[in-house]
């Protein structure tokens, strides 16, 4: 079975060498007023296209723009909405990365389209499938401070879903064939799976002929297996780095959805071994029908750039070796 190699979202926007720090320098120059917003946006576009080309050059079939314009996964979309102000920093899960909390004080309404232009810029850089990514309505609600406009998190998630559905419609109109929706908070709050489901129903209604992929990460999805498999999406991306039981489950019973196996640890620099990945792939793949994706467990922005690239190169090499290995008589 040929594996489809896919990015999981974010990608480091700078590296350790001066020639890979254009984004950081321009960000500071824009803050100091030394370059205009137009010039800054041009640098962002350039870096996004560079990231797209880097993933394609490594050998990924499905790439992203690395979310290089995103301040963080929670405030990027929220800051383009009325009814929201962006507040102080809060740690993002158990990472050493911080996001700015949106404060919702009234009814929210999208001020402008956000992701369509980002998608179009990325798509112009490659002939590979470009996958736009958006944080899901439930995760946005979890990352926000609710001060008014809605009675509870469920209502806020519904409101975010309406905004995100507009983004999905824009992306479909621009030609996106595959759209990734990240709901990492689902694994923290399994009791709210139905809120996630409800939000995805709203997004699915706007997707037209595009495919929706639900990604969960930063935890073990096994306790939520049935709920996740029942979500109204076409693909599911799973973080398989939190223990082996989830892989065991797939190896035993397969999956009713197309899966993207997050076997490359997006949280640690250590490179995966060929034997380690083969052991899991050899058990899991025979139980899965149709295409199967392979990728990082989460976005790679938590790694240094050089190591992110090395991880992808290593994954591609192992996947190609596995394709050959599978084809050989045992």
């Amino acid at each position: 079975m040929e594996l489809i190699l896919a990015s999981a979202g974010s990608y480091p926007r700078i590296g350790d060498t001066p020639d890979t720090q254009r984004h950081r320098r321009a960000y500071a120059q824009n803050e100091r007023g030394e370059i205009s917003d137009v010039e800054w946006r041009a640098v962002e576009d350039e870096v996004a296209q560079q990231v797209v080309r880097e993933q394609a050059a490594v050998g990924l079939d499905v790439v992203t723009d690395g979310q290089v314009r995103w301040y963080d996964p929670i405030s990027h979309l929220a800051r383009h909405c009325e009814g929201i102000q962006i507040n102080g920093l809060l740690r993002y899960f158990d990472t050493n990365f911080y996001f700015r909390q949106p404060v919702v004080s009234g009814r929210i309404r999208r001020r402008e389209s956000v992701l369509r232009r980002e998608f179009e810029v990325a798509r112009a850089a490659t002939d590979r499938v470009v996958k736009p990514v958006l944080s899901g309505p439930y995760s946005l609600a979890c990352g926000s401070i609710l001060e008014g406009g809605y009675r509870n998190r469920r209502e806020l998630a519904r409101a975010y879903a309406e905004v995100l559905a507009q983004e999905v419609a824009d992306l479909v109109h621009a030609g996106a064939a595959l759209i990734q929706v990240d709901e990492p908070y689902l694994l923290r709050h399994p009791e709210h799976a139905e809120v996630v489901h409800e939000g995805l129903v709203t997004l699915a209604a706007a997707r037209g002929r595009a495919h929706l992929a639900l990604y969960t990460y930063f935890g073990d999805a096994l306790p939520l297996w049935d709920a996740i498999m029942a979500m109204p999406v076409d693909l599911v991306g799973l973080d398989l780095t939190y223990g082996l039981k989830l892989a065991d489950r797939i190896a035993e019973a397969g999956a009713p959805r197309t899966l993207v196996l997050g076997l490359v640890d997006g949280r640690n620099t250590k490179l995966e071994t060929r034997d380690g990945l083969f052991r899991i792939l050899d058990r899991v793949l025979p139980r899965l029908r149709g295409p199967v994706g392979l990728g990082p467990s989460c976005g790679l922005e938590l790694l240094p750039r050089a190591r992110a690239r090395a991880k992808l190169e290593n994954m591609v090499a192992i996947a190609r070796a596995h394709d050959g290995h599978e084809g050989r008589p045992q």
Binding site: D16, Y27, D72, R91, D94, N96, Y98, T269, K270
Partner: protein, 333 residues
């Protein structure tokens, strides 16, 4: 409170003893000097002199404010993990990773067996203690956080890495106690990040503090403590220092359900907010604590280190805290 233990260590503290968590903002001259140091534009002795100047500055402020147990203010540390990682063999400087906005840092990588290189904080503690007659805490980052906030290219898994680090951290604790430290604070802000790992985080803390003659504190902050409570109470320390001031106020409701069995350092200042708490804000937070725990088991401090605040904000916040504590002490008689 483990009053008996404190008194056996020669520490006679008032009701609701006050302290801070560790870091204070660096004065501008030190920030500038540290930037110059990265370009080798300042000598190590000159930087050291400025770090000592800043440390003394903060000792005097803590004394003026009337804090009971002082800290060195961590003027010599850039980051609570990087400082130790840059000193301990087995760690290497990793590539740049974004922490927020346009801020990046070199996240350490474990590339070989991590080793204690000899005292890392003892000279700073000794010098700080020489500046004051009030007790100064020994402070260092705990093994779980050192592990979690580093990459690991060497150890087979997180537990092995954490326990290996714990054995080395213990050597630093022993060195601090030998120098005269009586209160030791182990910073573990990552403690609640993966609830399923609490078991080995506790095992690691046993390796760090078991059998040592000190009043021990674990500082944790900004986590989902509801996910590790009451398991957290199995940490083998005398005092848990928790962020209570802001979102974690619900912790106190948890204590009503599962009684808190240790001394509590009650974080009453939101260190991520520029606004200065009113005395009444702080008094209300202290009352929330005294409503669920006897006052003689409560310490009062900020939620976390104050290094992200300005010097003026830090003084003002601590000033409000001290006025509130004095009022609370009077109220308690």
């Amino acid at each position: 409170m483990s009053r008996t233990k404190l008194e056996s260590l020669g520490l006679r503290l008032p009701v609701l003893p006050t302290s801070t968590v560790g870091s204070f903002p660096k004065p501008d001259y030190l920030i500038e000097a540290r930037a110059r140091a990265t370009r080798n534009a300042i000598t190590r002795p000159e930087l050291d002199r400025l770090e000592r100047q800043a440390t003394e500055f903060w000792v005097r402020i803590q004394e003026e404010l009337g804090l009971d147990v002082l800290v060195d203010g961590e003027q010599y540390r850039g980051d609570m993990v990087a400082y130790f990682a840059e000193t301990m063999p087995g760690f290497a400087r990793g590539g740049l990773v974004r922490s927020y906005g346009n801020r990046y840092y070199h996240k350490p990588v474990m590339v070989g067996p991590v080793r204690w290189p000899g005292p890392m904080t003892v000279d700073w503690w000794r010098w700080t203690q020489s500046l004051t007659t009030r007790p100064v805490k020994g402070m260092l980052t705990g093994p779980y956080t050192l592990m979690d906030w580093s990459f690991d290219d060497y150890y087979p898994d997180r537990k092995t890495a954490c326990l290996a680090l714990a054995r080395e951290v213990r050597k630093e604790v022993e060195a601090l106690l030998e120098a005269g430290v009586r209160i030791i604070q182990i910073d573990e802000p990552a403690l609640s990040v993966r609830p399923d790992e609490l078991g080995f985080a506790i095992d690691a803390m046993h390796l760090v503090v078991d059998g040592l003659p000190a009043y021990s504190v674990v500082h944790a902050c900004f986590g989902a403590f509801e996910t590790i409570y009451p398991g957290l109470l199995s940490l083998p320390v005398d005092n848990l220092d928790l962020a209570i001031s802001h979102s974690a106020l619900d912790l106190l409701a948890m204590f009503e359900k599962d009684p808190f069995t240790k001394d509590l350092s009650l974080g009453v200042l939101d260190v991520h907010s520029h606004s200065v708490e009113t005395v009444e804000d702080v008094r209300a937070r202290i009352r929330r604590g005294t409503a669920v725990l006897p006052a003689d088991r409560i310490w009062v401090d900020p939620d976390c280190g104050l290094k992200t605040r300005t010097v003026e904000e830090s003084r003002a916040k601590l000033g409000a805290m001290m006025v509130a504590v004095k009022a609370a002490r009077a109220e308690l008689g």
